[in-house]
């Protein structure tokens, strides 16, 4: 079994150009995530958190440095290979839920399974199981517009977990939710991390969320400014 880091970024550079202004969104960022770890990337708006997530997950290309997932360099993978990789080994949760509005909750969760080639029955069963897991076993036939924000985010999480991916990327998963819903969602993510040993990378600027993870990576102006001790972070959360 591979014991190295599941995610490893070294010297990642990313610049955006809009008209004449050049923004260095990521400037020589390097860090690693171990399998089963739950890491929060934190920092003020515009510090490059989301860009980091996009670049590490292969949703966006990088201008310099290297990102390796499970030892494989993203740079060497084609767009199709990346797509396949995302389909088989990654799950995404976004602030705006991004459920497909024309599909029911059940169908949204089934989609990654169908994409991975599961049979119709298998997809249905596993999707139902995941929805059960996030506590939405009774809402499977509803369209996203008919669900509350918290419910929609649960569906999104169920969808991210559908293929039992190695890594789950979550960009501000609680950003659109009230505090009750937010903490419920976080509890869910922590529980899943504990029970299933999947790796979680969360982007957030909520200190509450930060308190529930193994490790916090802080960013400012495209640079990683500190990495807190994992044990500290998780113990903080268990104390609270």
């Amino acid at each position: 079994m591979d014991t190295g880091p599941i995610i490893s970024a070294t010297g990642v550079m990313k610049t955006y150009r809009s008209r004449d202004v050049v923004v260095e969104a990521l400037n020589d960022v390097s860090f690693e995530v171990q399998p089963g770890e739950m890491v929060a990337v934190m920092g003020p708006s515009g510090s490059g958190k989301t860009t980091l997530l996009n670049c590490m997950s292969g949703l966006d290309s990088i201008d310099g440095g290297d990102v390796a997932i499970a030892g494989q360099l993203l740079r060497t993978m084609s767009d199709d290979e990346l797509s396949d990789y995302r389909a088989s080994s990654m799950g995404f949760v976004f602030q705006a839920y991004n459920l497909l509005p024309v599909l029911s909750a059940q169908e949204n969760v089934e989609l990654p399974l169908v994409l991975a080639g599961a049979s119709q029955r298998e997809a249905r069963e596993r999707a139902a199981e995941k929805l059960e897991l996030v506590g939405l076993g009774d809402r499977t036939d509803h369209l996203p517009a008919e669900l509350s924000g918290g419910q929609q985010q649960r569906v999104a999480i169920a969808r991210a977990l559908a293929n039992d991916p190695a890594i789950v990327w979550a960009d501000e998963p609680t950003g659109n939710l009230d505090s009750t819903n937010a903490s419920e969602i976080m509890d869910l993510l922590v529980r899943l991390n504990n029970e299933r040993g999947q790796t979680f990378v969360l982007v957030t600027h909520s200190e509450d969320v930060g308190g529930m993870v193994h490790r916090i990576v802080r960013m400012r102006d495209g640079v990683v400014v500190s990495t807190s001790d994992a044990a500290t972070a998780r113990s903080n959360s268990s104390n609270s």
Partner: protein, 1231 residues
């Protein structure tokens, strides 16, 4: 063209241009008032250029179609018009003998010429009177051995050239005809080409008196005196003395032509008036008085009036008006000039004769024949005007044809506008919701959309007009290529300014109206719904209480009068009331008012508004009263029709209010049942259904039944709802039942319900109505059962594992936006449906090619000779041909003579004698032809050959042309005999087989001679296609003995038919026949080749037409493009998410292509299925009239259409699909 669908083009152009200006002005003023809204609206256009271009392209097609239809109509009528003008030249009025050459001497003495000159002496309208001889004779050029039988030879009076001297030589100089002395001739360009003759050559004229040689002194353009006629353009000019000598007609002429001052195109009224004045000069007053006194009886006048009121049998453009005039004039004490002119119309005279017999006075009818035959000394016709009228009619017919087939495409184009707006609104719901939330009013939203839409519309109308012109140039180019082989008619491009104005304005107004309706519709959004982005697209109107609705409706029943009175009361006393009429009725004051009203509504003086309303309604009231009075006064329907629009508007508003009153209950369905039943019953004919209630109109009957079906479906839904079924289930069951019922009803053969409803009349609108209804029904069924189809499709494609996620999304999106998808599907289906029907229809006629004998009767060559140069002994001529022809070349040679007569069916309802033609055929023709009979009297034989043999040996028995019997069918009331030609009742085309012989009476035409009438029995009816190149829909085939009784002169055999020993030599022998029989002016045609040529010409026209309708296909394809472009924009985020989930770029692309592909494929399936169904029904109905047609679906053609449609829609989707696949997930997901 001067008229479109009966409306003057000038008027139409002015009205439409006015409408356009009003629309633009209103938009302009509104925009001035609120520039922010304008800015908000207009910035959308450049923001998405590709989308804007696609929208404009989609919208412009209706204008394109209208423009090209009009331009083609213009070209056709102007080409015919110039053919007419070429043929008649300066001649406006022609005077000829009233007696046909078959009944007496049709030459005129010089004294008549003098009387004509006398009549017009000092008349400023006239600039020339030309006595002349016009005959058709063979001419040949011995130098080149070229001949041309049937040349129009014209003998002109050189002393009378004034007014007719406009001929031009081919080298462009003025042609001097004064050199036409004895032995000289001037020929026209066409004849010169045929004979390969040049100036200085000698040409030979073959005349009854022998051959003569003439030197060509000039070659002139085919115009005027040298214009020939519309059928044969070749002409040769001689001095009249030359022709008089050749024809043995010293001092005589056969026509006198009068030129109206002003050259080629003269005032039409002048020329009509002149013709009337001249006619009066040549009316026998005594005969006119006799007729007047005979007709002036209350019984006859009443009977004539009844005939006029019944309408039916006095149709025909030239007869019913004169009959009406006549009835009016009979009220006078003595015959007026108007009476005299009216009574000279021979069709009218025949109708009067029939009416008199119907009221039981056959002797009186008979006695009228003598004065009628003495009535005119010279028959006067305004020939140029008549030719121009026909040019108009044909042009109008062409436009109507193109418009009917184009109307589907126009409807599809209008649906596209609606679709575009629904999508624009959907895309902007949040934005619109916010705009509403900050306090703008609903009408501001309407305005915003209207501004944007108007910009698209203007662009579209402009582009559409230009493109329509381009398309019409191309289409006319192809059409003129098709007629290029015909030397007698040249087809050239022409378009009038009016047509361009009409096309542009009509396109703009149509789009603008649709834009306005769509804008209104999409503005009805619920603010909360819009901001939250919930699915619901529209919201319901608030419904006023029942009482209030009823009150509004009833108020409008009171009409404008109540309203006007109310308003007048509201004007406060003391205001200077007199000022307002002044203000209102000056155009300037009206303008001030309009500007105020639109620009600063809050500042418009209230009094001004009231007064405006009041004045409008007063005008309406006065208009209504005047209209009622005028209509009651009768007779002047034409002038009243404009005014009667006003009460019509009032009534329509009342109907609308009534509709609003009932509307809230409509959704429950039951009100539709009585309304539908009433409308349907109104559609029954008056003998079925409720007595004297129905009007026998197919459109009414079918619309009413459709309402009943929809009503019943809605009621069913209500029942299901009460039983607590799930909503989805209710909808599916009820809507599917409606769809299926409509499919069955509209899919029935056209005459399936005739037994119930009686025969209904329906025109091309039925084609449109049935097409739209069927497609709507099919789309309805598909959309409400989409999940079943989805299941099937995903089962099918789902086998290909990697495509499953793609299929899932490709189905989910269209299903989520059902309205949009349904609309797109309907558009696509409609287009394929039209193309399909046309493909089937063009495939129907091919039976003729398979069985040429149906048309030719087994003869290989048909030939016609000059009546003045009859053949005494055909065999002798062949024997003397010096071996060019041998007797053994021919199996059969037959002869026929033809004579125009009048005939009627004995014992029929309508006893008027009508036009017919006797084809007196020799025994050989009667016994050797293999023409098939569709109907026969079993008393005289049981096969076609039996009947022919009987007719050959029994002179008082006959067979008639298939065009004379009752038909029934699509697009016409199928009632021959309603016009001026004979039709037989009691034999129905759709019931072929045995019938009981019908007695008819034949006599010489009124005014020709008072020969005996003969009674004959019709015992057979020819197949529809038989002899179809002889233009003989009123032909009566019988043995020649009968002719001697009708005509007091021997009638020469002029038609010859040959059956060859070796049919493959037909074309070669045709040419030899023309040379050998040149002394008789024979023109011959190989029949099978003629059929083939005709077929290929038809086919080419059909393809051209299909190309024209293909324009509609562009709209359908454009719609899929628009939908895809919008979808990419709308779904950016979702695409990002799908990419994050692991969809590859290619999969996204395939998904988009598949979405369009599914609509295109389903649209094609619906279109083909329904097209085949309606095509079959049309086939059934046509083949009832003409059997021998075969139904088959031209699969190659259909496949081509579908492949083109699907491939092009995939191509238009390709660009947006590619865009979608290129979307970067990280960017799309950013918010």
């Amino acid at each position: 063209m001067e008229k479109l669908f009966g409306v003057e083009m000038n008027v139409l152009a002015v009205i439409l241009a006015g409408g356009t200006i009003v629309v633009l002005l209103a938009i302009f003023l509104l925009a001035l008032r609120n520039k922010v809204l304008l800015k908000l609206a207009l910035r959308n256009i450049p923001r998405r250029k590709a989308q804007s271009i696609l929208i404009v392209v989609g919208l412009m097609l209706s204008t394109t179609i209208i423009m090209s239809a009009l331009a083609i109509g213009d070209s056709v009528s102007s080409s015919i018009r110039s053919a007419v003008l070429d043929a008649v030249g300066e001649t406006d009025v022609r005077l000829v003998s009233p007696v046909g050459s078959r009944f007496g001497d049709d030459y005129l003495d010089a004294s008549l010429v003098d009387r004509v000159r006398e009549a017009v002496v000092g008349d400023e309208r006239v600039d020339g009177v030309m006595p002349l001889i016009r005959e058709s004779l063979p001419v040949l050029n011995e130098l080149t051995d070229k001949t041309f039988a049937g040349t129009s030879v014209v003998g002109i009076d050189l002393a009378s050239l004034a007014g007719f001297d406009g001929l031009k030589s081919v080298d462009g100089d003025h042609a001097d005809l004064r050199g036409l002395t004895a032995g000289k001739t001037v020929i026209n360009r066409t004849l010169a080409k045929k004979l390969e003759a040049e100036i200085g050559d000698d040409i030979t004229l073959v005349a009854p008196s022998g051959r003569g040689v003439y030197r060509v002194i000039d070659i002139v353009e085919d115009k005027g005196l040298a214009g020939g006629d519309e059928e044969i353009r070749s002409a040769a000019l001689f001095s009249v003395e030359t022709l008089q000598g050749v024809l043995g007609r010293e001092g005589q002429y056969n026509m006198i032509e009068v030129s109206v001052t002003g050259g080629l195109r003269v005032d039409e009224d002048d020329s009509d008036d002149l013709a009337e004045d001249l006619q009066l000069v040549f009316i026998n007053d005594e005969a006119a008085n006799t007729l007047f006194n005979a007709l002036k009886s209350t019984v006859i006048i009443e009977a004539l009036q009844a005939k006029l009121d019944a309408g039916g049998s006095v149709n025909g453009p030239f007869a019913s008006d004169t009959l009406a005039d006549l009835v009016v004039e009979l009220e006078n004490d003595a015959p007026t000039d108007e009476f005299r002119v009216a009574i000279t119309n021979t069709i009218t005279l025949a109708i009067i004769g029939g009416v008199i017999e119907e009221i039981g006075d056959p002797e009186l009818a008979q006695s009228l024949l003598i004065p009628a035959s003495q009535l005119v000394e010279l028959q006067v016709d305004a020939i140029k005007n008549q030719g121009l009228v026909i040019a108009e009619l044909v042009g109008g017919f062409i436009v109507a044809l193109f418009s009917i087939f184009g109307s589907f495409s126009i409807i599809v184009g209008l649906l596209l506008i609606f679709l575009v707006f629904v999508m624009l609104a959907a895309a902007r719901t949040t934005e619109m919701g916010i705009i509403r939330a900050v306090g703008t009013k609903r009408r501001h939203l309407v305005q915003m959309f209207a501004y944007e839409g108007i910009v698209y519309s203007i662009g579209a109308a402009l582009l559409g007009t230009i493109l329509g012109l381009v398309a019409s140039v191309a289409l006319v180019g192809i059409m003129s290529g098709l007629v290029a082989e015909d030397d007698n008619f040249s087809f050239s491009y022409n378009v009038t300014l009016q047509s361009i104005v009409v096309a542009f304005s009509l396109g703009l107004v149509l789009t603008a109206i649709t834009v306005a309706i769509s804008s209104y519709r999409v503005s009805k959004l619920n603010i909360v719904v819009a901001i939250r982005g919930l699915g619901q697209e529209f919201v319901q109107d608030e419904v006023p209480s029942t009482g209030r609705r009823l009150k509004t409706a009833l108020r409008w029943l009171g009409g404008p009068l109540t309203f006007a009175v109310d308003t007048w009361r509201e004007i406060p006393a003391g205001h200077r009331r007199w000022m307002f009429p002044v203000l209102f009725f000056t155009p300037f004051g009206f303008l001030i008012f309009v500007v105020f009203r639109i620009w600063k509504p809050e500042r418009t003086p209230k009094i001004l508004i009231r007064f405006w309303v009041l004045s409008m309604w007063t005008a309406l009231v006065i208009g209504s009263v005047v209209a009622i009075v005028v209509i009651a006064a009768d007779g002047a329907e034409d002038s009243s029709s404009a005014i009667s629009l006003l009460p019509l508007i009032c009534f329509m508003i009342f109907l609308w209010k009534m509709f609003k009153f009932v509307q809230p209950w409509l959704a429950s369905g039951w009100p539709l049942l009585p309304i539908g039943a009433l409308v349907a019953l109104l559609g029954f004919d008056s003998e079925h259904g409720i007595q004297n209630f129905g009007v026998g109109n197919a459109a009414l009957f079918t619309s009413g039944t459709t309402l009943i079906i929809i009503g019943a479906g809605l009621v069913l839904r209500g029942l299901l709802e009460r039983r607590d079924y799930r909503e989805e289930y209710q909808k599916r069951v009820s809507m599917t039942s409606i769809g299926v019922a409509m499919l069955i009803f509209w899919g029935l053969p056209f005459d399936a319900l005739d037994g119930l409803t009686g025969r209904l009349s329906g025109g091309p609108e039925m084609f449109l109505l049935s097409g739209v209804s069927l497609v709507a029904a099919a789309v309805w069924i598909v959309m409400y059962n989409a999940d079943v189809i989805v299941w099937v499709v995903s089962k099918m494609i789902g086998r290909f594992g990697s495509l499953r996620p793609v299929v899932k999304m490709a189905i989910a999106y269209p299903m989520a936006a059902r309205f949009r998808t349904g609309l797109t599907l309907a558009m696509f289906s409609l287009v394929i449906f039209t193309m399909m029907i046309f493909a089937i229809l063009t495939n129907l006629g091919n039976a003729i090619e398979d069985e040429p004998d149906l048309v030719s009767g087994g003869f290989d060559i048909r030939a016609r000779i000059d009546a003045e140069l009859p053949i005494d002994d055909v065999d002798a001529v062949i024997a003397a041909s010096g071996g060019k022809l041998l007797a053994s070349d021919f199996d059969v040679i037959t002869r026929q003579a033809s004579l125009r007569v009048e005939a009627r069916q004995d014992g029929a309802e309508d006893l008027a004698f009508k036009g017919a033609r006797v084809r007196a055929s020799d025994a050989t023709w009667l016994t050797t032809n293999v023409f098939e009979l569709t109907h026969w009297d079993p008393a005289y034989g049981s096969t076609s050959a039996d009947i022919w043999a009987y007719v050959a040996t029994h002179p008082s028995f006959a067979v008639v042309n298939g065009g004379m019997i009752e038909t029934g069918g699509f697009g016409g009331d199928g009632d021959p005999g309603s016009g001026p030609s004979l039709g037989l009742k009691g034999i129905k085309a759709n019931e072929p087989g045995e019938f009981t012989g019908i007695d008819i009476t034949i006599r010489p035409p009124v005014g020709q001679s008072v020969g005996d009438s003969v009674n004959i029995k019709v015992i057979g009816v020819l197949h529809q296609f038989a002899d179809s190149f002889e233009f003989g829909s009123t032909d009566i085939y019988m043995s020649p003995e009968i002719l001697d009784e009708i005509s007091n002169k021997p009638v020469p055999f002029v038609d010859y038919k040959f059956r060859l020993a070796d049919a493959s030599r037909a074309e070669e022998i045709t040419r030899v026949l023309e040379t050998v029989f040149i002394e008789h002016g024979m023109t011959a045609t190989a029949i099978v080749a003629e059929i083939a040529e005709n077929q290929s010409q038809n086919e080419a026209f059909n393809q051209l037409f299909q190309g024209f309708m293909g324009l509609g296909l562009l709209v359908g394809v454009a719609s899929l493009g628009v939908v895809s472009f919008r979808a990419v924009v709308e779904r950016r985020q979702s695409i990002g998410m799908m990419r994050a989930l692991g969809y590859k770029g290619r999969m996204i692309q395939i998904q988009f292509l598949m979405e369009s592909g599914i609509v295109a494929v389903f649209g094609s399936v619906i279109g083909i299925g329904l097209g085949a169904l309606i095509g079959w029904n049309i086939f059934l109905s046509i083949s009832a009239e003409a059997d021998g047609l075969t139904y088959s679906i031209p699969w190659l053609n259909v496949t081509l259409i579908v492949v083109i449609a699907v491939v092009f829609s995939l191509i238009t989707t390709f660009i947006p699909a590619r865009q979608a696949s290129k979307i970067k997930p990280s960017e799309a997901l950013r918010y």
